[in-house]
Amino acid sequence: MRTTDLLVIGSGPAGLGAAIEGARCGAKVLLVDENTKAGGQLYKQIHKFFGSGAHYAGTRGFQIADILLQEANDLGVETLLDTRALGRMDNGCVSILHQGKVEAVEAKKVILATGAKENALAFPGWTLPGVMTAGAAQTFSNVHGTLVGKNILMVGSGNVGLIVSYQLMQAGAEVRALVEAAPQITGYLVHAGKIQRAGVPVYTSHTVVEARGTDRVEEAVIAQVDEKFRPIPGTEQTIPVDTILLAVGLNPRTELASMFRCRTTYEGALGGILPVHDAWMRSSDPNVYVCGDLAGVEEANTALEEGRLAGIHAAVSLGYTAPHAQARMEELQESLRSLRSGAHAARRLACKERIMEKGGACHV
């Protein structure tokens, strides 16, 4: 059996932030991730990030991962990769599958940073080879160096759809069109501007209605939608593509949080069902923290700040002290408010306030 102060599950920006800050406070930290490389989705991000200097703005995502990993190593965080957290056992330990063996981990605090998974969209022909999620195409391209197709239809104009379109063009593919069911582009307009300058037509109030082909996708049928998102007959257009990518949102990976019996709520704008948390990222169980996309799908910079907040609070509540720990937590809370205060983020801020109200009520 392994023992640790903090067990952090997931090594994306939230998990790395938690591990770094927990270790900085002096806590013993064990970080586990099912992937063979730490960094979560940061490693697939080859574009420069938004944010302030404090959030590594202007730095490319994979470069941020390298900085965070180095910091975690320097602080003595023990990291187990290719290691899956299987669940919570009756005695409160967490079982992990590491190098083919199941082991128990006894942790005083558990920080869940399990991220999110992509939504799918069903339409006639969607099971044909060539239909996949945008994140899958990004993993093929940016991790494995393989283009999934030459001519692409992107479905969804959130930041994932916009950024993956840009990156696949950088890799040599053609994005023949991007469709968005909403009447306006939903991601940042500057991301949209990049692909529009490169000649990608963006069709708002449009969706994909059919994928056609014999052994794989050969063409996509798109159509205009009405205000209730129903395709309008007679507006169909056929676009010759070999790939249809779905960038239609993400939902929190709550399986482990459910095993810990964390109380959940529903916030559609943050991805759906997710565990509630207080202003320090504590779930309804005071020994279990939730952060990053698991606690509401947002961005890498908010995930990192939430993780840092969880890491400090968990360490401090175990009696570890770091200089200015209290002030640092207040700074992080303020930073999160600032990251959510733009016009584009107003809806996310309102969701987060409701979640924290419900989460705070668990600890009175």
Partner: protein, 146 residues
Amino acid sequence: MSNQPSRGFALLECCQEIPCNPCTTVCKTGAIVKSTLNSRPEFDPEKCVGCKLCVAACPGQAIFFQVPDLGDGKASITFPYEYRPLPVPGQEVVAVDRLGNEVCPAVVQSVDQRPVFNRTALVTLVIPAEYRDQVRFLRRLRREER
């Protein structure tokens, strides 16, 4: 802005409130300021010395650099470019607008790659001055075109 037609100035086309500020941190002369992390940047053309650091730094690729009057009815426009192959100086290309629509033929004046740009190249096109407010990019070069 008309008092520096031959020296040029940055064009900030940051159209939404985004929590982001690399433009203000790379600007050494204080020509770009933001009152909060989310507010849109404010630009003082009098303070702009034309270093173009902001053009490369903006994660949204929303900053351009324009020299409105090069003489002979020409202007130049500089934008970030992250596709390969890169154009080469002297190459004739097609200049396009913000939606990728063809505007006019253009000649590549320079392709600037500095370590501080972190692998973003800055491409400068010479174009007829009448198109300087429309042209923002070049028709992307395919691998066979170079």
